[in-house]
């Protein structure tokens, strides 16, 4: 294991891999600060470049975009009271009042520092999970993995907010679309309509760009302006105090990070739950919080940012060990890793352990570098929020068609992007959730492969194996537990904001 840890570290410290990590960090920190561009779009645009890289380099590029996206989110929350993403909603509660009191620099510094510490704690949790999960993963066979993938598929409901039925329908459609192409067991061309292009199936990147980026561009076009047209003020005064605050309240940082890790491990919850849980917990446990929280207490900022960044380490545990991506962004990363030849699941804890360690190191190094960059370039990142849609829309569209084409060097991919853009727009309009489609698209073929291997090995009796029954019970919990947690989270967010 130590050899793998060293190999993982050396892998991402190669100059090219390190440079790509820096590119990922800068792209992520800049793009998430812009209105309407999320980490999913950023990752989809980066994936084509990753295809020609070696495994360590691809990990550095793809994962750094995702791993650090929660850090720069705080800028818009604190300065403009606009959440930069799902995980920065609760940052507004105390961050914005601090900014209004002239303590923006202190709030930002506290957020970035606690975010870095949270990221490191999340990575340590992932590291500690390896020796526990390794023997467990080794005793699981195809039937158990089939059920685990079913757990992932069941999560589509939990990714669907108020509409679990719509979520499962869309997830099912994602699975059906994933079946277009050659059927592995029989070699048959399924649902290809004698079109050569469809023999390889629909590609993840054009579908993702179409489904997510195009509707977001429309949102941007309709809104018409960038986020911020307000003066930024002094963003250096109080910075040292903010950094000090994160270390002074070290126990709060650890507690909140543990909450984030726990939320991350449970598939389907995500940053928007982690931040409110951490905020609610801090409000209940910090002395005097009931009077000061919501009025500009730095502890409110620290708790949220530590939790949202620690969550990433936690969410990698089920993704890497069992092949269950806990969110649509992780499903996209999951799909991207498969394309570059990395199979999340058993291999990540056995033959490819060094790759898992490279991700752990990336979380640690990436978190530290991102926080330093955010501290140093807060003003420049804040200016990214002022970029006008009239500049962003054509630029992102241009990059989107290049990214879609790069998926398989076929012009048809660009057309698929446009078609799914239209579908994504109608889905938003009709209130149908888009993330489950991505999860279905990625997990569909994997579920079918495990199913047939299980039937060939054990017949229908594979369903009676103790491991399968145990995971089935877990499946039931996966369906109902997040619903319960979300209800609790909404209750807490209402309580703390009201």
């Amino acid at each position: 294991m130590i050899d793998a840890a060293i190999e993982g570290l050396l892998g991402i410290l190669q100059w090219k891999a390190f440079l790509l990590m820096m590119v990922g960090i800068i792209v992520s920190s800049t793009l998430v600060a812009m209105p309407g561009i999320g980490s999913k779009t950023a990752i989809a645009l980066m994936l084509p470049i990753a295809f020609v890289l070696n495994k360590f380099e691809a990990i550095c590029l793809i994962m750094s975009v995702w791993a650090v996206s929660n850090t720069a989110n705080s800028i818009t929350s604190i300065l403009f009271s606009v959440p930069g993403g799902g995980g920065s909603q609760a940052t507004i509660m105390d961050g914005y009042p601090m900014a209004r009191k002239g303590e923006a620099a202190r709030a930002l510094a506290a957020a970035f520092t606690s975010s870095a510490i949270g990221g490191i704690i999340g990575a340590i949790a992932l590291f500690l999970a390896i020796p526990v999960l390794r023997p467990l993963v080794l005793i699981l066979g195809p039937p158990e993995f089939f059920m685990l993938v079913m757990v992932g598929v069941a999560m589509v409901g939990t990714l669907s907010g108020k509409s679990p039925i719509k979520g499962i329908i869309i997830g099912g459609l994602g699975i059906l679309v994933s079946l277009v192409g050659v059927h592995v067991s029989t070699g048959l061309h399924r649902f290809t309509f004698d079109q050569l292009y469809l023999v390889d199936g629909l590609k993840l990147i054009p579908v993702t760009i179409g489904l997510f980026a195009i509707p977001e561009l429309i949102y941007m076009a309709v809104k018409g302006t960038g986020i911020a047209d307000v003066p930024l003020g002094d963003l250096t005064k109080g910075r040292r105090q903010g950094i000090k605050d994160a270390f002074t309240h070290w126990w709060l940082v650890i507690r909140s990070s543990l909450i984030g890790i726990w939320v991350g491990i449970i598939p389907g919850l995500g940053s928007s739950v982690a931040d409110w849980f951490a905020y609610g917990s801090a409000k209940q446990t910090c002395p005097g919080a009931s009077e000061t929280f919501g009025k500009g207490d730095v502890r409110g900022v620290i708790a949220v940012d530590a939790a949202t960044n620690a969550k990433e380490g936690g969410s990698l545990i089920p993704t890497l060990a069992f092949g269950i991506p806990g969110s649509s962004t992780l499903a996209l990363i999951f799909g991207g890793l498969i394309i570059v030849g990395i199979s999340p699941g058993k291999n990540m804890l056995t033959t490819d352990l060094s790759l898992t360690f490279s991700m752990i190191w990336l979380l640690i190094i990436g978190s530290i570098i991102t926080s330093i960059l955010c501290l140093a370039f807060t003003r420049q990142l804040a200016l990214a929020t002022t970029v006008r849609p009239t500049i962003l829309i054509p630029t992102v569209l241009g990059m989107a068609v290049i990214g879609s084409f790069a998926a398989s060097s076929r012009f048809e991919d660009v057309i698929i992007m446009a078609v799914f853009g239209l579908i994504g727009y109608f889905m938003r309009f009709a209130g149908w959730p888009r993330p489950p489609f991505l999860l279905g698209l990625v997990l569909g073929p994997i579920a079918e492969r495990y199913l047939w291997t299980s039937i060939q090995l054990y017949g229908g009796e594979f369903l009676l194996r103790p491991g399968v029954i145990t995971i089935f019970i877990l499946l039931v919990l996966v369906i109902f537990y997040p619903v319960l947690m979300r209800k609790l989270s909404i209750g807490r967010s209402n309580a703390v904001s009201g």
């Binding site: 309407g36 999320g38 999913k40 470049i49 799902g86 907010g161 108020k162 039925i165 719509k166 499962i168 329908i169 099912g172 459609l173 699975i175 059906l176 079946l179 059927h183 029989t186 399924r190 649902f191 997510f212 195009i214 429309i218 949102y219 076009a221 309709v222 809104k223 995500g270 940053s271 969110s327 009239t390 500049i391 829309i393 054509p394 630029t395 569209l397 241009g398 990059m399 068609v401 290049i402 084409f405 060097s409 012009f411 057309i415 446009a418 853009g421 579908i423 727009y425 109608f426 938003r428 309009f429 009709a430 209130g431 149908w432 959730p433 888009r434 993330p435 569909g444 199913l451 979300r486």
Partner: protein, 155 residues
């Protein structure tokens, strides 16, 4: 429009399920059973969803968590839909341009044209068009050796 979007989603789903059932008939069991099971589950849920939505009549859009940004009020207005139509129109023109003139010419021209039409300065528009054009040519064309197809009219 909300109602139309909802109908569109129902029809799209129903069409997809029909395709699965029709084409699965000619396939061996090994290839057809999995898509058919998934399609049956989706079909049953679709019927439940349609029945559920009937009493409410109109199509109020549910908000979704996390990765899905909520539909802005502006987007539901006539002006919002017109802007969405313009974006789709520009995507269509972009695709047409790619087909006729190829990637290297169309993408910078598209960026330049879009920004100028939106009253951005010619200097800024030129810079963005040039930078993206260069990234397209150098990073994707030269470094990654992507075989961008020639246009029908211009190579």
């Amino acid at each position: 429009m909300l109602f139309l979007a909802k109908i569109f989603m129902y029809l799209l789903t129903a069409a997809a399920l029909s395709v699965i059932f029709v084409y699965s008939q000619d396939m061996p069991l090994a290839a057809s059973i999995y898509p058919e099971i998934v399609a049956i589950i989706v079909g049953v849920l679709l019927v439940i969803e349609i029945i559920r939505s009937v009493p409410s009549g109109s199509a109020a859009a549910d908000s979704s968590m996390g990765a899905d940004i909520d539909l802005a009020e502006d987007e539901k207005t006539r002006s919002g839909m017109r802007k969405a139509g313009l974006v789709f129109g520009s995507i269509f023109l972009l695709l047409l341009g790619l087909y006729l003139f190829g990637f290297y010419i169309t993408i910078p021209l598209f960026i330049l044209g879009y920004m100028l039409l939106e009253k951005e300065s010619i200097f800024l528009s030129g810079i963005f068009a040039a930078v993206i054009g260069f990234v397209n040519w150098y990073v994707f064309g030269e470094l990654l050796s992507l075989p961008f197809p020639s246009g029908l009219l211009v190579g």
